[in-house]
Each structure stands twice: as structure tokens, then as C-alpha cells.
Symmetry: C2
DNA sequence: CCTTAATGCTATTGACCATAGCAATTCATA
DNA sequence: TATGAATTGCTATGGTCAATAGCATTAAGG
């Protein structure tokens, strides 16, 4: 690689993440979901107490931007909004959502397995710790 | 982290990349550049033969989307379009662009150094090889 | 009780990426 | 060398995604 960017860790990180996202996007397309949809489904699986704000905080999505996302999943019949009190709404999976969850799990499990398999064996055990170090200590 | 996503390599990769990008974006803000601007400047530094299409291919940006990017950098006085023949235009740094290049290099060098420093020492040598493996073999 | 914070939402904006199409030029090869 | 194919730089457009400001309602805490 003769270009001056390939050797920069930041650049390589960005490219690796992009390649990974493109791959996962393709794998989720057959079941009509985007990455963000699948993430949300995995996050509310088996729970009836996660609010829109909760999910937004976990996925780093502003409350305002949760609305169209939830609207779409609700229109697809995958989730439902269930009042927890007069203000909070729990996001729960519908039966169709539960069925979809199984497919999401199958796809993501295979995906993560393939992802790890691409990393040469000696580097493999160091991958997650390194990522978590970057993620947890983003700014100083 | 009690959430079911943190342990997924793909998710961790995405989050680490996002944190990295946010950090770099902040560091470049004082000199009025975005990440994509800085990447382009580093890519054309010291050359007078890189065309818009070349750069687009290297950065994975469609030709059509190069136009507003180049227009902005040209309006800022950092780059110029120099005809190579009746069709091709070389993207070159102006004197102001060269001055900016020095600042870009200072910022990105420090940034990459800090990035690596965040990774615990034992994992460090494995980081770039792992990323390149993911980047170079995105789909199979 | 009453101020403060949180929730879910509307509306808007901008960055970014993808696609289709076009005129002009270069190229490849027959 | 002539001609069809590919390339270049561009316009125009639409879609996704994130960020901001603002609002009415409700919950929590001093």
C-alpha cells in the first residue's frame, strides 16, 4: 500500500469497521433489517422494561432520533410500545418480533464467528481487549 | 456491561471506531478541517498528479461526491485544480494548503500516538495486523 | 408543595453516501 | 488509424443518519 494512510491505526480502524458494517448490512438484508434494527431487537429481547430513552442511551442515539426508528419497527409489527406509567413506554417484542429475534441471533452469531475467524490466530485474543480499551477511554 | 452487545466483536469494533472518529474530529476542529479534508490533504501532499477520480478510489468516495468536497477545499484556498490534459485535473496543494499540511501532520501524528498509547502494551503489536486482516478480506 | 429533571415527541438542519445521467476526452484494439 | 468502449468531471436528486432546539406532560426530590 503506497498510500500514506494505510499505516495509520485510526484510518485502519475506520476501514475495518466500514468493511464489517457493509458485510453485516448484507447479511441482514434478506430478513429486511438494518444493523440498528437488529441491535435494538437484541437489546430488548426478553425484557419488558426498556424504555426508548434507555435504549437510546445504550446505543448512543438521541431520544429524538429514536422516534422514527421505533415507528418503523412498530409499523413492521416487530415491537410494541407498552405504557409503564403515564410517561414511560416500554419497548417490547411482539410475537413476530420474537420470531425475528431467532433469525437475528442466527445471523449475528454466524457473523461474529466469521469475523473472528478472519483474524489470524495469534492476534485473536488481543482483539477485544484492544477495542474495549479504545472504546472505554475515548477522550482524556 | 450487562448489555448483550458489548461482547460482540462487531459491535465493539463499531464503537471503538466511533470513539476514535469523534476524538479526531474534535482535534481537527480548531484548524477548521473535517476528517475527510485532512485525509485528502495527506493524500495529495507532495504530489501533482493525483486526480479527483484517483483520490475517490483511494478513499472510497464516489466521483460525484468528490465534487462538493473539492469545491469546499478549493474555496478555502487549500487546494487547486490543475489540468493534466484536456480531461484530467490534478488536485494539488496551494501554499496555504502546504501550511495547513504541517498542522494536519502535527495533529494526526499526536492523535495516532495517543490512540496506540490507549491500548495496553501486550495487545499493541496485534492491533494493526488484526485490522488489516479485517479490512483486506471483508467478504468471502 | 413546588422546583427540577426526565420522557416522548415535532420539526429542522446538515453531513454523508448512492444512483442515474451527461458531454467531453482518452484508450484500446481491430 | 478509425471506432467502440471506458474514463473523467460534473449535475441533480434522494435516502439515511445524527444533531439541535423546543414543547407538553409527568415523575422525583428537597
Amino acid at each position: 500500500m503506497p498510500d500514506p494512510l494505510s499505516n495509520l491505526p485510526g484510518y485502519a480502524l475506520r476501514r475495518a469497521a466500514n468493511a464489517m458494517m457493509a458485510d453485516l448490512t448484507e447479511r441482514l438484508a434478506p430478513i429486511g433489517l438494518r444493523i440498528i434494527d437488529a441491535s435494538l431487537i437484541l437489546l430488548v429481547a426478553g425484557r419488558r422494561d426498556r424504555t426508548s430513552s434507555d435504549i437510546g442511551r445504550m446505543l448512543d442515539i438521541q431520544r429524538a432520533n429514536m422516534v422514527p426508528l421505533l415507528n418503523r419497527l412498530e409499523a413492521s409489527g416487530l415491537i410494541a410500545r407498552v405504557p409503564l406509567d403515564k410517561k414511560k413506554m416500554a419497548i417490547v417484542l411482539t410475537p413476530a418480533g420474537d420470531a425475528m429475534l431467532a433469525q437475528v441471533r442466527a445471523i449475528t452469531n454466524q457473523f461474529e464467528e466469521d469475523l473472528i475467524a478472519r483474524i489470524p490466530e495469534p492476534h485473536r485474543p488481543h482483539f477485544m481487549p484492544a477495542l474495549h480499551a479504545l472504546w472505554s477511554a475515548p477522550a482524556e
